[in-house]
C-alpha cells in the first residue's frame, strides 16, 4: 500500500478516457461502479468540454455482484453501441472490475458488433493515467490499422505512399501524434506546430488523437514521418510505427526557442528540406527580451522545475539557456519518463527528483528555497503556501490552465508566451519589496499579500484569522463556495475588498462579535461595515446577532 494525499495522475482508465474523448467517433465502455463516473467532470468542468465524454459505465452495485455482472456489462455495451453508433468501441474496466474478472474485452469481442472492438487491459494497481493514455492510443491505432487491411474501408484513404511519390514534387507529409484532451495547452500547440510545419514546407497528414476520426487514423501510414509531440502519449506508438511502416519520428519537443530550432533541424535531416529561413531564433521575441537590460535581474534566479517528463526537461533548458536562470532542482512524477529526466538532470549537475508524493516535493522546494517554481497545479499550491512565485508548465492542471486566449507553449510564439508567464510572477515579486518598504504606512499593513498571490486569500491575514499557523491542523483553503456564498449578501454593496477590520465605531455585543468571526476573513470587513452602516441608518448604537442577520437580510438580493 502507498499513502497518497494528492495524486499527480489518475488511474490508467482515465488515460484511456482522454484518448476516447480526444477522438470524434470512438466510444469507451468501462466496467466500473457508479462513483467512477466522477471522471466525466475532469472533461466537462476543468477543460469546459461542451459534450459529455463518449464514455458509458456499467455502474454495477454490490447487489449485482452475486448475480451476473458480466451480463450486465454486455447489456451496457449493447445499449451504448446502439445509442452512439461509434466507428470504434473501446472496452475496459476500472480497478474494481479488474478484481471481479469479467474479462470485458473478450466479452465485447464475442458480441459480434459490426465495428472494431478494442479490449483495453490497463492494470489499475500498478499503472497510471499517462501510461493508460499511451497504451490506449497505441492499441487504438494498431487495431484500426489492422481492421483497415482486412476491410475495404481502407479504400477511403485517398492515395497510397507510392502514388504520392509519383506526383510532382509533393511536400513531405507528417503526422502529429500525441496531443490529447486534458493535455497541457495541446489545443494551441497543435495550431502553432501546424503553422510552423507549413512554413517549413511539410504537409500535415493526420493530427491524432485530438479531434481525429478513425478514417483519419487509417491514413497514418501515408505520412513520410511522425512528430512525437507529446512522448508521454505517443512514444510507444511512434516506435511501433517506425518498426512497422519505416516512418522515422522527430523526437525533439519544440518547447523553447532552442528546442524549436532543434526540432526544425531534425525535420531537415529527415526530409532533406532546407528550412534555414524558418529556423531564425529572432522569430521569437524571447531572445531579445532576455537580453534587454530590463531582464538583467532575472539572471541567476534560483528555479525549481517539477512536471511531466517532457515539459520538465524543456523548461529546465529554457530556464538555463534562454533566461539565464539557475536551475536548482529538476524532477518528474512520471516513472515512465524517469530515465530521460535523470539524464537531463545530469546535464545540470543535479540529481533528478523522481517521485509522485506531493509532500516530498514540497519538502524539496522548502529546502532549496527557490525564487521561482515551475510546476504543475500541485506545485502552484506549494509555492503559494511558501510565498514563492510560480508558473504552471504542465498537467495536472486546473480550469484556469485552459485559457480563453491563444497561448501555446510550443514553437516561437510558445516561447513568447513562456517568457511572459514565467517572468510576470517575478516582476510582481518586486511588489513584495515595496510592501516591506511601506509596511508602516497606514494604507498598507503587513498582512497584505502581494497581489499575484491571490491577494488576501493567501496572505498573512489568513493565518491570523484562522489561528492556523500550525500547518496541517488548520485546513487551509483557496476558495470556498460555501463561505463566499454565505457571506454574499453582506458584501454585495461595498466595493473595497482589501482593507478591513478597521476600528469599531458602533459597539458590538460579544455574541455578535463572535458570530462575525464565523464569516470568512476575506469578506468579514465588508460584513462588519455593512452591518454598522445598517445599524447607524436605524440609529442603533449596539449591534446584536439579530442586527447582524437583519442586515444580512437587508442587503440580500
Amino acid at each position: 500500500m502507498e499513502l497518497a494525499l494528492w495524486t499527480y495522475e489518475g488511474p490508467p482508465h482515465v488515460g484511456a478516457m482522454r484518448i476516447a474523448t480526444s477522438m470524434q467517433d470512438v466510444h469507451y465502455v468501462i466496467h466500473a461502479p457508479q462513483g467512477d463516473t466522477y471522471a466525466d467532470l475532469l472533461f466537462t468542468m476543468i477543460e469546459r468540454q461542451q459534450r459529455r465524454p463518449p464514455v458509458t459505465y456499467s455502474t454495477f452495485q454490490a447487489r449485482d455482484l452475486g448475480e451476473d455482472t458480466a451480463n450486465m456489462l454486455k447489456e451496457t455495451i449493447k445499449k451504448a453501441y446502439d445509442r452512439y453508433q461509434p466507428n470504434v468501441l473501446m472496452v475496459g474496466e476500472s480497478c474494481t472490475a479488474e478484481l471481479i474478472q469479467d474479462q470485458p474485452g473478450s466479452l465485447a469481442r464475442g458480441m459480434g458488433l459490426p465495428v472494431p472492438v478494442i479490449p483495453l487491459e490497463l492494470p489499475a494497481y500498478s499503472k497510471k493515467e499517462n501510461w493508460g493514455a499511451s497504451e490506449s492510443f497505441y492499441y487504438l491505432v494498431r487495431y484500426v490499422l489492422a481492421s483497415a487491411t482486412a476491410n475495404i474501408s481502407a479504400n477511403s484513404s485517398p492515395h497510397s505512399k507510392e502514388e504520392t511519390l509519383i506526383n510532382a514534387k509533393p511536400r513531405p507529409k507528417a503526422n502529429i501524434l500525441g496531443p490529447s484532451s486534458l493535455g497541457f495547452r495541446c489545443r494551441d500547440d497543435v495550431v502553432e506546430i501546424c503553422q510552423l510545419l507549413d512554413q517549413v514546407g511539410i504537409e500535415v497528414n493526420v493530427v491524432a488523437p485530438l479531434n481525429a476520426t478513425t478514417p483519419q487514423l487509417h491514413r497514418i501510414p501515408d505520412a513520410d514521418f511522425n512528430i512525437c509531440l507529446y512522448p508521454e502519449i505517443a512514444r510507444t506508438l511512434c516506435v511501433w510505427l517506425e518498426k512497422t511502416y519505416q516512418q522515422p519520428f522527430v523526437k525533439t519537443v519544440p518547447i523553447g526557442v532552442g528546442a524549436t530550432v532543434r526540432f526544425i533541424e531534425e525535420i531537415e535531416a529527415i526530409t532533406g528540406i532546407d528550412a534555414s529561413s524558418v529556423k531564425q531564433i529572432d522569430r521569437s521575441r524571447l531572445p531579445w527580451y532576455a537580453r534587454s537590460v530590463d531582464s538583467t535581474y532575472l539572471n541567476g534566479k534560483r528555479v525549481f522545475v517539477f512536471a511531466d517528463g517532457s515539459h520538465a526537461i524543456a523548461a529546465a533548458r529554457i530556464a538555463r539557456d534562454e533566461l539565464g536562470f539557475n536551475v536548482v532542482g529538476l524532477g518528474t512524477f512520471s516513472r515512465e519518463m524517469a530515465r530521460d529526466v535523470r539524464a537531463a538532470a545530469a546535464e545540470f549537475g543535479l540529481e533528478a527528483l523522481i517521485c509522485d508524493d506531493y509532500l516530498t516535493v514540497e519538502q524539496h522546494i522548502e529546502e532549496l528555497h527557490p525564487e521561482l517554481v515551475l510546476g504543475t497545479q500541485m506545485e502552484r499550491h506549494i509555492a503559494k503556501r511558501l510565498g514563492i512565485p510560480c508558473a504552471v508548465i504542465s498537467a495536472p492542471v486546473h480550469v484556469q490552465d485552459f485559457p480563453a486566449r491563444y497561448s501555446p507553449q510550443m514553437g516561437f510564439e510558445g516561447a513568447n508566451v513562456i517568457f511572459d508567464t514565467w517572468v510576470h510572477p517575478l516582476l510582481m515579486g518586486l511588489e513584495e519589496h515595496l510592501l516591506h518598504m511601506f509596511r508602516d504606512d497606514f494604507e498598507f499593513n503587513d498582512s497584505v499579500a502581494p497581489s499575484h498571490l491571490h491577494g488576501g486569500e493567501h496572505g498573512g491575514k489568513h493565518a491570523a484569522d484562522h489561528g492556523g499557523k500550525q500547518r496541517g491542523t488548520q485546513a487551509r483553503q483557496d476558495t470556498t463556495h460555501v463561505d463566499t456564498d454565505y457571506a454574499q449578501p453582506l458584501v454585495a454593496h461595498n466595493s473595497d475588498a482589501m482593507l478591513q477590520d478597521q476600528p469599531i465605531p458602533t459597539s458590538w455585543t460579544k455574541d455578535a462579535e463572535n458570530e462575525l468571526k464565523k464569516i470568512p476573513f476575506f469578506v468579514r470587513g465588508k460584513a462588519r461595515r455593512n452591518t454598522e452602516a445598517y445599524a447607524q441608518s436605524l440609529g442603533q448604537s449596539e449591534i446584536s446577532i439579530e442586527t447582524l442577520y437583519d442586515a444580512k437580510a437587508h442587503y440580500a438580493r
Binding site: A4, L5, Q34, D36, Y38, D40, T96, S126, A475, D478
Partner: protein
C-alpha cells in the same frame, strides 16, 4: 410510536447507467466538520483521484484525508494487506499527533477483496490505546451513493457513542457551524432546550466528543439521507421525531414544531421564537420569488436533497416541478416530505442517465439541477443548470439561509437574462 401511514405518491423505478458520486465524497465535508478526525480511504488510485476531483476548488496544503492505495503486491498476497495498513496508519499517526479519531473508509476494491476494516479498526484502536479512536465505515460506490457516505459514517459514530439515560434532543446530520449556532439559539429561545434537558448536534465538532445516546434520547434529522443512522439510533433506544427537513420557512417551522411537540413545548413559544427569523426569511425570499415563479424545474438524481428542496421550491417559490430524480428512496425517511408534494409529481428512483437526458431534451425545463459531469454539456445545449454539489457545501438550512437557498437556484436563471452572448 405507530408507524405513520406512508404517502402513496407513485414512484417510477429506472435502471441503467448511474451518474452519481460514491459515498467517499462525504469526506470532503465531514473532515471539515470534525476537525480532530482523519479519514483514510483504503482503496485504489481511482478513489484518491475521485476525492481530489470532488474536493475540486478546495485544495488544502495537507488535508485531513488520504488514500491508502492498494498495489499489485497487496492483491497478489505478496504483502499482507493488514500489515501494510498498520504500517501506513502508524506512519500517519506519527506525522499527525493532532488526530484523535481515525476513520478507515472502505472502498469498492477493499470490499471486493473482503478486507475486514472493522477488525483492522479494532486492532489499531487497541494498539494505539487511548491515543486515537479508530472507526470504520463504507464509502464504496457499490454500497453507497454520494451523501449516503455521511450516513454510513454517522452510523459508525452512533455505534461508538457511550450510553446515557439523560433526557436530550439530538440533531442528526452535518450542518455548517454557523447554522448549528442559529438552531441552538432557536432551541434556547423557544424553551425546547430547557424542556429537553440538553441539545446536542451529531456529528460533533470534535469526533472525540461523541454525544451519549440512550432511551431518553429523542432525535430529529437535519439531513434527508440518514436512513441507516436513523435505524441504528432507534436500535440504541433513541426515538425518532419525524418531520419535514429544515429547508425554507415551512420546513424549518415544521421541524421546530416537531421538536417542540416531542418535548411538550407550547406552540406559542415556537411562534414567538420563530417570528423574527421568519420575517427576515420572507424578506430575503421575496428577492427571488419573481425569478423563480412558474419556472419548470428538473432534478437529476444526486444528493438525496432533491425531494425536500423540490418541496421548498414548489411551496415557497412557486416553481413548477417537472421531474424529481432520486438515486434511491426510503419512504419512511421521506414520508412527510412526499406528502407535501403535488400528488401528480413525477418522481423517478434510480437512474438511466441517457434516458433522462433524452427526457430533458424533450421537455426543455427552465433549470436542471445536476452533477458536475452533466452541467456544462447541458448548458452547451442551451439548458440552464445548477450544480447540485454546491447544495451540500453551502449553508442552506434554516430560516436565515432560506434566501440564500432560493438564490442558488435563481442565480443561473438571472445569468441567462443578463448575458447577451
Amino acid at each position: 410510536m405507530n408507524a405513520p401511514v406512508l404517502c402513496d405518491i407513485p414512484i417510477t423505478v429506472e435502471r441503467g447507467q448511474r451518474e452519481v458520486f460514491c459515498g467517499l465524497t462525504g469526506i470532503v465535508w465531514l473532515h471539515r466538520k470534525m476537525q480532530d478526525a482523519f479519514f483514510l480511504v483504503v482503496g485504489s488510485r481511482t478513489c484518491a483521484h475521485l476525492l481530489q476531483s470532488a474536493a475540486g476548488v478546495m485544495i488544502f496544503s495537507e488535508p485531513r484525508f488520504a488514500t491508502a492505495i492498494m498495489q499489485e503486491k497487496d492483491l497478489a498476497g505478496l504483502a499482507d494487506a493488514n500489515e501494510e495498513l498498520d504500517r501506513i496508519v502508524h506512519r500517519l499517526l506519527q506525522r499527525r499527533p493532532d488526530i484523535k479519531t481515525l476513520f478507515l473508509v472502505g472502498s469498492c476494491p477493499s470490499e471486493v477483496i473482503k478486507l475486514d476494516l472493522a477488525k483492522a479498526a479494532e486492532r489499531l484502536s487497541a494498539s494505539h490505546q487511548g491515543r486515537v479512536n479508530v472507526l470504520n465505515y463504507s464509502g464504496s460506490g457499490i454500497e453507497t451513493t454520494f451523501t449516503e457516505g455521511e450516513d454510513t459514517c454517522l452510523d459508525a459514530l452512533v455505534h461508538a457513542a457511550p450510553y446515557t439515560d439523560q433526557s436530550q434532543l439530538i440533531v442528526v446530520g452535518t450542518l455548517p457551524d454557523v447554522v448549528e449556532d442559529q438552531f441552538a439559539r432557536l432551541f434556547e429561545s423557544s424553551g425546547i432546550a430547557e424542556a429537553a434537558g440538553k441539545v446536542a448536534f451529531f456529528p460533533p465538532r470534535r469526533a472525540e466528543h461523541i454525544p451519549a445516546i440512550g432511551p431518553n434520547t429523542k432525535f430529529i434529522l437535519a439531513q434527508p439521507f440518514l436512513n441507516i443512522t436513523r435505524r441504528t439510533l432507534i436500535g440504541r433506544g433513541a426515538s425518532h421525531i419525524p418531520s419535514l427537513f429544515p429547508f425554507g420557512i415551512n420546513g424549518t417551522l415544521a421541524w421546530m414544531r416537531a421538536a417542540a411537540d416531542a418535548f411538550d413545548v407550547a406552540e406559542a413559544n415556537i411562534s414567538k421564537a420563530c417570528e423574527a427569523p421568519i420575517a427576515r426569511a420572507e424578506k430575503a425570499l421575496a428577492h427571488y420569488r419573481e425569478t423563480l415563479a412558474g419556472k419548470r424545474l428538473w432534478f437529476m438524481p444526486d444528493s438525496q436533497l432533491e425531494i425536500p428542496l423540490a418541496r421548498f421550491l414548489q411551496q415557497e417559490c412557486s416553481v413548477d416541478l417537472q421531474e424529481i430524480g432520486v438515486p434511491y428512496l426510503d419512504r419512511q425517511t421521506m414520508n412527510s416530505e412526499l406528502s407535501c408534494l403535488p400528488q401528480n409529481s413525477s418522481i423517478v428512483e434510480g437512474q438511466d442517465v441517457d434516458e433522462q437526458l433524452d427526457r430533458i431534451r424533450k421537455n426543455q425545463p427552465d433549470l436542471v439541477v445536476c452533477g458536475l459531469g452533466l452541467a456544462n454539456p447541458l448548458e452547451a445545449e442551451g439548458i440552464i443548470t445548477k450544480w447540485s454539489i454546491e447544495l451540500v457545501f453551502t449553508p442552506i438550512h434554516g430560516f436565515d439561509q432560506a434566501g440564500d437557498l432560493a438564490e442558488l437556484f435563481a442565480r443561473p436563471l438571472q445569468r441567462k437574462q443578463r448575458l447577451r452572448v
